[in-house]
């Protein structure tokens, strides 16, 4: 058994009683990494020297002041699109291979203030564009449950590192499912908070109206601990919401009596694998046995979410990624003049998926097509948001699967972008609407994890956690671990 099989509160208890040191925790991380990283490949970079020094310093604090801070001494991994001062941040792109940020993201500052220890930077799909981690410019992370399969994406390294016991928790980012889908595929807990709940300052922008940072953990309670630390208004991010952050732990009562659950028929319909559907139906029975009730509802515009998403996210990406031109940072491929230098830098620096999205977005925003594609997609976004508003008038949460299938094989979907895009069909609507959603383990199908998705109304992370926690306490799925 690993020390990381314990929850944060138990680890803190052991630290408090001096039965464990921060150095022990950090050494556990690096020894596990040494053992399994060759099979999983979660990390793009390890920050061993810093981490060991920090562990020593924190052990000093432990002696003099005790356990200080919400996340004191906990080893964590950070997705490589979240900037870390003086620590290379590449977004898994060759173009940013040597980029060393000169400031920290707000979430990184907050973790530092809570005395966490950063173990390293985690692999991802390049610029967070992908659902399998196969679009990384450097390497493919593998699913700890079956190393021939993908860990999901784009926060694949974030999910795989937690699932394989390399770190206690990690941060990911979610634009169309990039925290929840890998959490589902790797059998861990991943939350996409409400849009605006967590500051995006220092998150390299993909699609600014959709991006959100969130925690990946082994348990719901730990997830709530991490969100507590990173949530809140930030004057450096004008899209962060000035809404009070409640005490999420208060919500973890295990009591969901009289909870009203909506189950959209669109989330269990065509395209959802039978073994996934079965686990969700079982989960609903579990929730019923705890006193909740559920009814089938309809989110009639669900089937249009993917098309609207790929137009909108790619349009925003084409604008956001215009900054990568080899002038102020990143690699420059110098040519005879400025325009040719831009062209060469971008063509050699970006991978195919990033180019595809930039092309799609540039097309959708180009003169003569803007109304037909971009504006149309924004209008459909309104209809999708209204679907959610309607359902939340009557129900506390919406429940369905996180992904239509379990983890697929590496290489299986790489030749057909549309097939790959379809894997996000159950996670994209929440980004378009901006509502919070969590994926929690719902059992294994043929040895591969299935994720249960619980969706809440705006800023109702407490409700989402309450339901997720009650489900977790009534099941043993979160205790299942991959053998590596």
């Amino acid at each position: 058994m690993s020390i990381f099989d314990h929850q944060i509160k138990d680890i803190h208890e052991l630290l408090h009683k001096k039965e464990l040191s921060v150095t022990d925790l950090v050494e556990e991380s690096y020894s596990r990494i040494k053992e399994v990283e060759g099979k999983v490949d979660s990390f793009l970079q390890l920050t061993e020297e810093n981490a060991r020094q920090q562990a020593k310093d924190l052990d000093q604090v432990l002696t003099t002041e005790g356990v200080k801070g919400n996340l004191f001494g906990l080893p964590t991994g950070i997705k490589d699109n979240i900037v870390t001062k003086g620590i290379r941040t590449t977004c898994a792109s060759k173009l940013l291979e040597n980029f060393e940020p000169v400031h920290n993201a707000t979430v990184v500052e907050k973790l530092a203030a809570a005395n966490t220890v950063t173990i390293g930077k985690l692999n991802m799909d390049e610029f967070a564009m992908g659902s399998s981690n196969e679009n990384s410019g450097f390497k493919v992370t593998r699913n700890p449950w079956d190393t021939n399969r993908v860990p999901g994406g784009s926060s694949g390294g974030s999910a795989a590192s937690v699932a394989s016991g390399e770190v206690l928790f990690s941060l990911g980012s979610d634009t169309g499912g990039s925290i929840r889908e890998p959490a589902a595929f790797c059998g861990v807990v991943g939350l996409k908070p409400t849009y605006g709940r967590v500051s995006r300052f220092g998150l390299v922008a993909f699609a600014s109206s959709l991006d959100q940072i969130g925690p990946i953990t082994r348990t719901v309670e730990d997830n709530a601990f991490v969100l507590q630390t990173i949530a809140g208004y930030d004057k450096m991010d004008s899209t962060s919401a000035n809404v009070e952050v409640p005490d999420y732990r208060v919500a973890l009562t295990g009591d969901i009596k009289d909870l009203k659950i909506a189950v959209p028929k669109e989330y269990l319909g065509e395209g959802v694998a039978p073994e996934v559907r079965e686990k969700i139906e079982q989960a609903l029975k579990t929730l019923e046995s705890l006193g909740a009730t559920w009814e089938e509802v309809s989110l009639p515009h669900s089937k249009y979410a993917n098309a609207a998403y790929y137009i909108l996210s790619s349009s925003e990406a084409s604008a956001n990624l215009a900054r990568f031109d080899g002038i102020r940072y990143g690699k420059r491929m110098e040519d005879t003049n400025l325009i040719e230098t831009y062209r060469k830098t971008r063509s050699q620096g970006f991978g195919d998926e990033v180019k595809r999205r930039i092309m799609l977005g540039t097309f959708a925003l180009s003169s003569g097509y803007y109304d037909a594609y971009y504006k149309k997609a924004q209008q459909v976004r309104t209809l999708i948001k209204q679907d959610f508003d309607e359902v939340f008038k009557k129900y506390d949460v919406i429940i369905g699967p996180t992904a239509p299938t379990t983890a697929f094989k590496i290489g299986e979907k790489m030749n057909d972008p549309l097939t790959m895009y379809a894997t996000d069909i159950l996670t994209i609507p929440m980004n378009l609407a901006g509502v919070p959603a969590i994926s929690v383990p719902a059992g294994l199908a043929d040895g591969l994890p299935v994720g249960l998705q619980i969706i809440g109304n705006y800023f109702e992370e407490s409700t989402v956690y309450r339901v997720a926690h009650a489900f977790e306490q009534a099941t043993d799925f979160h205790k299942q671990k991959p053998t590596l």
Binding site: N98, F99, E100, V102, H103, Y195, G196, S209, K235, S238, T239, A241, Y304, A307, A308, Y310, A322, G326, R328, Y329, G330, K331, R332, E334, D335, T336, N337, L338, I339, E340, Y342, R343, K344, R346, S347, F350, K355, R356, I358, M359, L360, T362, F363, S366, Y373, K375, K376, A377, Q378, Q379, V380, R381, T382, L383, K385, P417, L418, L432, A433, G434
Partner: protein, 96 residues
């Protein structure tokens, strides 16, 4: 209905400051055409009088006091620039 032609892909590539080989051009033409054809399903929906959503929260015009605060220092800012001289970023010739 093949609405994405190779000519159009060339035009968009120029706007996006990307260049492609002939093979890549063929691949992107086909894939973008597939994606755009897929996106055409949005036209099944009547969106007359539906307001577009660009942002999900009711936040408009976030303002703050115009206070002077320290910026990043010049040395730090130039640290990641591929080429610089005399405290300024150096770029290839802009004019022919």
């Amino acid at each position: 209905m093949a609405r994405i032609t190779k000519e159009k892909v060339k035009h968009v590539a120029n706007l996006a400051r990307l260049e492609f080989s002939e093979d890549e051009m063929d691949m992107f033409t086909k894939q973008l055409d597939d994606i755009i054809t897929y996106a055409e399903q949005l036209n099944e929906l009547d969106t007359t009088n539906v307001k577009p959503t660009s942002h999900v929260l009711d936040v408009i015009n976030v303002v703050r006091e115009d206070e002077v605060r320290p910026s990043l220092d010049r040395e730090d800012t130039l640290k990641n620039a591929p080429d610089h001289e005399d405290g300024q970023i150096k770029v290839p010739s802009v004019l022919e």
